[in-house]
């Protein structure tokens, strides 16, 4: 065991130490880690750090000196890959969220209480928050009744997301009622090519596989 250790160059021991620490180690700390057996001078440690930095050229990690010492970190150029490590997988939005969003789009400016009145159930705060975080809805004012409830309206970002230039491009309520047939032929507004082939495709898809589990459609877009 100790044979390997003694033959491992100092720079490689330091590399392993920095990676085991997961954060910065000062030159003093490094010196003290070796103090017990084979003591290295500050110069030897510095030289090993320099060698290590040289070895890492062209690799995915780099040695940097920060206030509290030396640390090995991933190169910024690799961030596109690395950030994907912590990607949160999208989940489907709930039915309640879709209904709330639709109500706001068609009946704006509208209060939460009014949405609840039509839907017949309460609207949870996290739904409103999610829609606000996506910047699809915003508070446009407050109704002048006790409690001064917020009035919600849709945003420019909402129109952009659905590829609409004005809300008028949304189908009228009468057209929505006729959607019942879910006919793939039915393009609810043939004059607007903006509606996009995606929507039509998803309609066709939906009618073929009505049992597709939630989440599947989300994946097919990625």
């Amino acid at each position: 065991m100790s044979d390997t250790a003694t033959t491992t160059p100092l720079k490689h021991i330091i590399e392993a130490l920095l990676l085991a620490a997961g954060g910065p180690l000062s030159a003093n700390q490094l010196v003290s880690l070796f103090a017990a057996d084979e003591a290295y001078s500050m110069e030897e440690i510095s030289k090993a750090l320099e060698e290590l930095a040289g070895d890492l050229a062209g690799r995915g990690i780099e040695l940097v000196e920060v206030a509290s010492g030396y640390r090995l970190q991933t190169r910024p150029s690799l961030l596109p890959w690395i950030s994907r490590l912590w990607e949160e997988r999208p989940q489907r939005y709930s039915r309640a969220l879709l209904e709330t969003l639709a109500m706001i789009a068609y009946r704006q400016p509208i209060t939460r209480g009014e949405i609840e009145e039509v839907r017949g159930v309460s609207v949870r705060s996290n739904i409103i928050r999610t829609l606000q975080e996506r910047e699809w809805i915003r508070v446009v004012g407050h109704r002048d009744v006790p409690g001064k409830p917020a009035l919600f309206g849709t945003t420019r970002a909402f129109l952009d997301y659905f590829n609409l230039s004005t809300l008028d491009e949304l189908p009228t309520l009468a057209e929505i009622r006729d959607m019942e047939t879910l006919d793939p032929e039915l393009d609810f507004d043939p004059d607007t090519p903006d509606a996009g082939p995606e929507i039509i495709e998803s309609l066709a898809h939906g009618s073929e596989e009505p049992t597709a589990p939630p989440g599947d459609t989300g994946e097919s877009h990625t």
């Binding site: 085991a20 991933t74 704006q108 009228t172 959607m179």
Partner: protein, 282 residues
């Protein structure tokens, strides 16, 4: 790595039994008997229970100490030694864990059965009264060994470190779910069906741009209590824009989301947030 020294702490009231065999080796030095000045502490039971993982462990210790084969235990002698431990602890006035007393009873039963002529089974073979105990001892011993093997496996945080580099911008990319316009419209249809709102003609006939404009008007009135009527109209929007704005204002008035004020005939018309301070008299 396991230091055998801990075995020394095991109370051994019958330490003189196996002179031929040291029960512990401390720093290469075999110990064949307990130190004479061995002090049995008041918490002897705890020490005892810590040293042995139960009656099976104690029995295995007694068997292994004498280098006996588990398959051929001299039951009378082992029972005597086992009872000596139990009695010692009883003497120190401790309540023994029930498991140890149950084992004492099992041993006594086996011992008595060994003395009796063995009943023949159907196959004509004699059943050894020790068989069940031997099976249990072996079964326990293999897991005792497995536990030691586990302890000796290289283990994170003890034998090696899992490596981690610093990531400067450690932030999760959260991908928001996609929505199909179709899904949203279907959801709306269901709500309206539930609420039977399709029967209201007024809902269906209204251009949505009017609703959009209503939101915009309300928003403009959010930071100020009132605005002059002409402020809402922009020439660049053309005739359609004027109509949309006018319809939006009418709808807002109808829904009491804005008030319209005129302080004197032919004076300026103000659009006012309901409940806001009064419009100044000119």
């Amino acid at each position: 790595m396991e230091t055998p020294a801990q075995i020394v702490t095991k109370p051994d009231p019958v330490g003189v039994l196996q002179e031929e065999m040291p029960f512990a080796v401390v720093q290469g030095q075999p110990y064949t008997r307990m130190p004479l000045d061995l002090y049995i502490p008041p918490d002897a039971l705890e020490v005892f229970l810590d040293a042995f993982e139960g009656p099976l462990d104690l029995l295995l210790y007694l068997i292994r100490r004498q280098n006996l084969d588990v398959l051929d235990i001299p039951i009378a002698e082992i029972t005597r030694q086992y009872m000596a431990y139990i009695e010692l602890l009883d003497e120190v006035q401790f309540e023994l864990a029930a498991e140890y007393l149950v084992m004492a009873a099992i041993l006594a039963e086996i011992k008595s059965r060994m003395l009796l002529p063995r009943p023949s089974t159907e196959g004509g073979e004699e059943e050894d009264p020790r068989a069940e105990l031997v099976r249990r001892l072996q079964e326990y011993e293999r897991f005792k060994q497995a536990a030691e093997d586990l302890e000796n496996l290289p283990r994170a945080e003890r034998d090696f470190a899992v490596l981690e580099a610093w990531v400067e911008e450690r932030k999760a990319i959260s991908i928001p779910p996609e929505i199909d316009l179709q899904d949203m419209l279907l959801a709306l249809r269901d709500v309206l069906n539930r609420a039977e709102l399709f029967s209201h003609h007024q809902v269906g006939s209204e251009p949505l741009s009017v609703r959009e404009r209503m939101s915009a008007i309300i928003e403009r009135l959010r930071d100020r209590p009132y605005l002059e009527f002409p402020d809402f109209f922009t020439v660049e929007e053309g005739r359609m824009g004027v109509i949309v704005t006018f319809l939006a204002l009418m709808e807002l008035l109808r829904e009491h989301m804005v008030d319209m004020v005129q302080n004197k005939p032919f004076g300026l018309i103000y659009i006012k947030r309901p409940g806001a301070a009064e419009v100044p008299l000119e």
